[in-house]
């Protein structure tokens, strides 16, 4: 996708380069994109329930069945305990450090991406409410 955008940007497509156009994606492509997401969300569910993220075997799912009470739609939001507007991964890392007695994951760690994918998937259909308490 990025490459075809660049090609278009340089006008190469206009001189007959055989690249796929930006609007050339099919139902099969969409299905694949969806599947890619679902696989990552499923990985997130696995991590959520496995107890593997910390050091004491406690799993996120022990306190948050179906990732409930994580309300991803409310982030970013002000967290009084942090004294600043925080993102969802910062809250997830607090849980990993404390109840799970583990260490922070980087925001772009594939495991954090999987966790956020799962949390958000379980909350699908709920309106965005950034900042809400």
């Amino acid at each position: 996708m990025l490459r075809s955008t660049l090609l278009l940007a340089f006008g190469l497509a206009a001189i007959g380069a055989p690249a796929a156009r930006a609007d050339e994606f099919t139902k099969a492509d969409v299905d694949r994109y969806q599947k890619e997401f679902e696989q990552v969300a499923a990985k997130g569910r696995e991590l959520w329930t496995s107890g593997a993220l910390g050091t004491n075997g406690v799993a996120c799912g022990q306190c948050h069945p179906n990732a409930a009470n994580t309300h991803p739609e409310t982030y970013p939001k002000f967290q009084k305990q942090l004294g600043k507007v925080a993102q969802l991964f910062e809250m997830a890392n607090w849980c990993i450090r404390n109840p799970l007695q583990g260490s922070n994951l980087a925001p772009d760690d594939p495991r954090m991406t999987a966790l956020v994918s799962y949390i958000t998937f379980e909350r699908r259909g709920v309106k965005l409410a950034p900042g809400q308490h």
């Binding site: 022990q62 306190c63 607090w94």
Partner: protein
């Protein structure tokens, strides 16, 4: 935010006739206005003691139970007995049950234990029985009939034929939201026992029934549910005054079905979300229930609970103390015929943290 109430203020409150506690336990007073001798018992539930390996256990859950036991021993009036409401361990291991039992052994007074699914599905309650005896039983105390049920049984097929190992069976049932789990039930055999047990009891005798799961249907997906709840309720219906007190849900719930008042107790381990906060499922929370204040996620002990329960005129008044939140009182309203939150029942009186999402 209110200050944590100290033991000093608990005692001062008790002296003034108020009922206050900061303990992760329930103090239950049965007051009968002279017709029976008043007495108090203590209720601790859902400790979920979890082994890491060897002699290491999850510190957070240990702290909840340790504090409950230590504080319970300091309470006045002293309890006639203690109920532990189930889920002593997390994965039913001997190490967990032994570690939890060792902590509970410091309690003054006789302990009556209720079976939880986390105690059961490794060895079907075998080791638990060595510690605490039969899985279901009844006893009489100062004119009240108490029944302890094992409400976390499930089908024979799931229990005996579905899983290759006992460890896997335990793990599958331990995940609250695991679709491979199975609905809880009391079962035919135990209901027959209950019918026989109750046949000997006068219908005017106050009944208090302890179960781990709610003997009502709230949300099947998390087993806030007992599959044969209606059949059990039918056996309780002939009695004038019936109170069901249950654990498992780790949150404040209350309800009234006919003559039966329902009250949940808090966990010493961790709080659970209300089912309504799971966006993909319908909520069946009793409409009477005003949710507990939301847990402060930055405080590991928040929204774990304790409550003081009076049973006057055979009905429950539950005084819930939340670690760093204002206290809550849920009392039976004789005019309305059901429990109400004395401060927050009216929609206009609710507090922002009672909105869960």
């Amino acid at each position: 935010m209110s200050e944590l109430i100290t033991r000093r203020s608990v005692l001062a409150g008790a002296g003034a006739g108020a009922a206050l506690t900061t303990l992760p336990i329930s103090m239950v007073t049965l007051a009968f206005g002279g017709t029976r001798e008043d007495f108090t018992f203590t209720y601790i539930s859902d400790a979920h003691i979890q082994q890491i390996k060897g002699a290491s256990f999850v510190r957070n859950w240990d702290m909840g139970l340790k504090r409950a036991v230590a504080e319970a021993n300091l309470m006045k009036p002293e309890s006639d007995f203690v109920i532990f409401g189930g889920d002593l361990g997390q994965l039913g291991k001997r190490e967990e049950l032994d570690h939890g039992a060792e902590m509970l052994s410091h309690l003054k007074g006789k302990l009556h234990a209720v079976m939880g699914e986390h105690d059961f599905y490794l060895d079907l309650g075998d080791y638990w029985s060595k510690l605490y005896g039969p899985h279901y039983y009844s006893f009489d105390h100062k004119g009240v009939h108490f029944v302890v049920l094992n409400s976390i049984l499930t089908s024979e097929q799931w229990t005996f034929h579905r899983w290759p190992t006992a460890e896997q069976r335990m793990l599958e049932m331990a995940g609250l939201d695991n679709p491979n789990g199975s609905p809880f039930m009391v079962g035919d055999k135990q209901r027959k026992w209950l019918a026989n047990d109750l046949a000997k009891v006068d219908k005017k005798t106050p009944l208090v029934v302890f179960s781990h799961s709610p003997l009502q249907k709230i949300y099947k997906g998390w087993n806030f549910w007992t599959d044969d709840a209606e059949e059990v309720q039918a056996l309780l219906r002939p009695f004038d005054s019936v109170n069901v007190i249950y654990g498992h849900v780790h949150q404040i719930q209350y309800n009234q079905i006919g003559n039966i008042s329902f009250n949940s107790v808090m966990a010493t381990a961790w709080p659970w979300p209300y089912p309504q906060s799971y966006a993909q499922a319908e909520s069946h929370l009793p409409v009477l229930t005003i949710p507990m204040n939301r847990a402060d996620p930055f405080f590991e002990r928040d929204a774990t609970g304790w409550q003081l329960i009076d049973i006057g005129s055979g009905r429950v008044t539950a005084r819930y103390q939340l670690w760093d939140n204002d206290s809550r009182t849920v009392a039976f309203d004789h005019k309305a015929g059901h429990p109400v939150d004395v401060a927050y029942q009216e929609p206009t009186q609710r507090r922002l943290p009672q909105n869960h999402f």
